[in-house]
């Protein structure tokens, strides 16, 4: 493996100092389960890895009345074991369980999945569907941004040199809520999505604010996208019916732009998007007892 220096700061301040010192030659590491493989393959050649795992602040995993906060050091397994997530974020439970395998999940982090910014990142679509905001600390201050502002393309983000994503703020969906993440893959563990669809419902259709629906995708677009037209139809729908479901599936297909690669062809992915959309929407209606 390419040689590098491992730095393990125990404060955010010290991490910023290291980023300042090494500039573009430094890379941030949380779990490292993607990064170390990229280094082994020579995709990235950092001189210094700044490991964030010893910074206590980044281990925060908390729930308030308004949101869940997931620190940059929180592993996928630790997140999955939090009781609150199955109550409030069932689509994230689906996605976490489909992420890699139980061993890798003990090390890989939730924030790392977002920062890796690969189109097939399983947690990205559900975090986007739950309107997650990233908290980003830079040398001169902090900012927050949404998932779709953060990821601009495969492995490309708006993270600036010197900046660190410290945590994710995931607002609790308005009750009654339901959610589902559906993933097509070749085997049931350790596999990257061929296509993934996430659907989240929150609030009641009969109330003035109405029902809010999000429909997001994995592995079928270069950056996170929503199927806005399909969401609009679902927000108006009083009940599940087949013709509505068909229309939603067609609109979902139109919202994405998959490529052909080693895992699947573009045509197959489009068909899967339609089918997985039907399954995710059905699951959301069923969870609410409306189907």
């Amino acid at each position: 493996m390419h040689d590098f220096l491992l730095e393990r700061p125990d404060t955010l301040r010290a991490a910023h100092d290291l980023l300042q010192r090494y500039g573009t030659k430094a890379m941030l590491k949380a779990g490292g389960t993607d990064l170390l493989i990229w280094i082994k393959r020579g995709v990235v050649l950092p001189e210094c890895l700044v490991d964030l795992s010893l910074i206590p602040l980044l281990q925060e995993l908390s729930l308030s009345e308004a949101e869940m906060c997931i620190g940059a050091g929180v592993s996928v397994a630790r997140f999955l074991s939090a009781e609150a997530i199955s109550t409030h974020f069932p689509a994230l439970v689906d996605a976490c369980n489909s992420h890699s395998d139980p061993l890798v999940r003990n090390r890989a982090t939730v924030v790392g999945n977002v920062c890796s910014a690969v189109p097939s990142g399983d947690l990205i679509a559900p975090l986007f569907a739950y309107d997650t905001q990233l908290e980003i600390h830079g040398p001169t201050g902090s900012r927050s941004c949404g998932i779709d502002e953060f990821i601009t393309g495969p492995r490309k983000t708006t993270l600036q040199p010197g900046e660190i994503v410290t945590c994710l703020h995931v607002p609790l969906p308005k009750p009654p809520s339901s959610g589902s993440y559906q993933k097509a893959m070749r085997r049931e563990a350790l596999d990257i999505a061929q296509a993934g669809v996430c659907c989240v419902f929150s609030g009641k259709a009969q109330e003035p604010a109405g029902r809010k629906v999000r429909l997001t995708f994995s592995a079928v677009s270069a950056k996170p996208v929503r199927a806005l037209k399909a969401e609009h139809i679902l927000e108006q729908a009083n009940q599940l019916d087949e013709s509505m479901l068909q229309e939603v599936a067609i609109l979902a297909r139109q919202a994405v732009a998959p490529i052909t690669d080693v895992r699947a062809s573009s045509e197959y992915r489009l068909d899967m998007v339609a089918e997985l959309t039907r399954r995710a929407v059905r699951a959301c209606f069923a969870e609410r007892g409306e189907a």
Binding site: M1, H2, D3, F4, L5, L6, R8, G32, T33, L36, I37, I39, K40, L49, D51, S53, A77, S100, D101, P102, L103, V104, N106, R107, E188, A189, L190
Partner: protein, 165 residues
């Protein structure tokens, strides 16, 4: 480029010094000190042949850097053996013919150990899920599944861990 650092950790109950450069994996560092039950397979976090129990959790040592384990507690298949007697899980793997070439076995045994620590009486589905990160290319998994079931019976009602856990 940077030189090696001393890393102190507990390996199978013994205070151990590893010598590691920044890019040395835990897998490499353990093999360098003779802990060879930890196998070098894909080295990309896929196959699970390099599984270790790191601070109580099963993890793939090819995607852990050795310098990250300062102060950590590591259990490998060697550490399950007590006074020359195989651990019941190891014995169950032999008895059930869950081994052919044996390359995946130490990792399978450790994932089984971790599963039974948290869930002493797993269902077939829970066993499949817990072992889904460990690949076997020769036995076909049926023997392994039987070995895990047998281990659960042997270890009930009281679970026994390795020296270090």
């Amino acid at each position: 480029m940077p030189g090696k650092k001393e890393v102190w950790c507990t390996v199978n109950g013994k205070k151990t010094r590893l010598l590691a450069a920044g890019n040395t994996t835990l897998l490499q560092a353990l093999r360098d000190i003779g802990v060879t039950s930890v196998k070098r397979g894909c080295e990309e976090g896929e196959c699970g042949a390099c599984t270790v129990i790191l601070d109580g959790l099963p993890q793939k040592s090819c995607i852990v850097l050795a310098q990250e384990v300062e102060g950590a507690t590591i259990l490998t298949s060697e550490g399950l053996v007590q006074n020359g007697t195989l651990h019941p899980i190891q014995q169950a793997f032999i008895d059930e013919g869950a081994i052919q070439c044996g390359f995946c076995t130490p990792g399978m045994v450790l994932s089984t150990w971790a599963l039974l620590q948290s869930n002493p009486n797993p269902t077939d589905e829970q066993i499949k899920q817990a072992l889904s990160g460990n690949l076997c290319r020769c036995t076909g998994y049926a023997g392994i599944q039987r070995a895990v079931k047998k281990s659960a019976k042997l270890l009930a009602p009281k679970l026994q861990g390795g020296d270090s856990q």
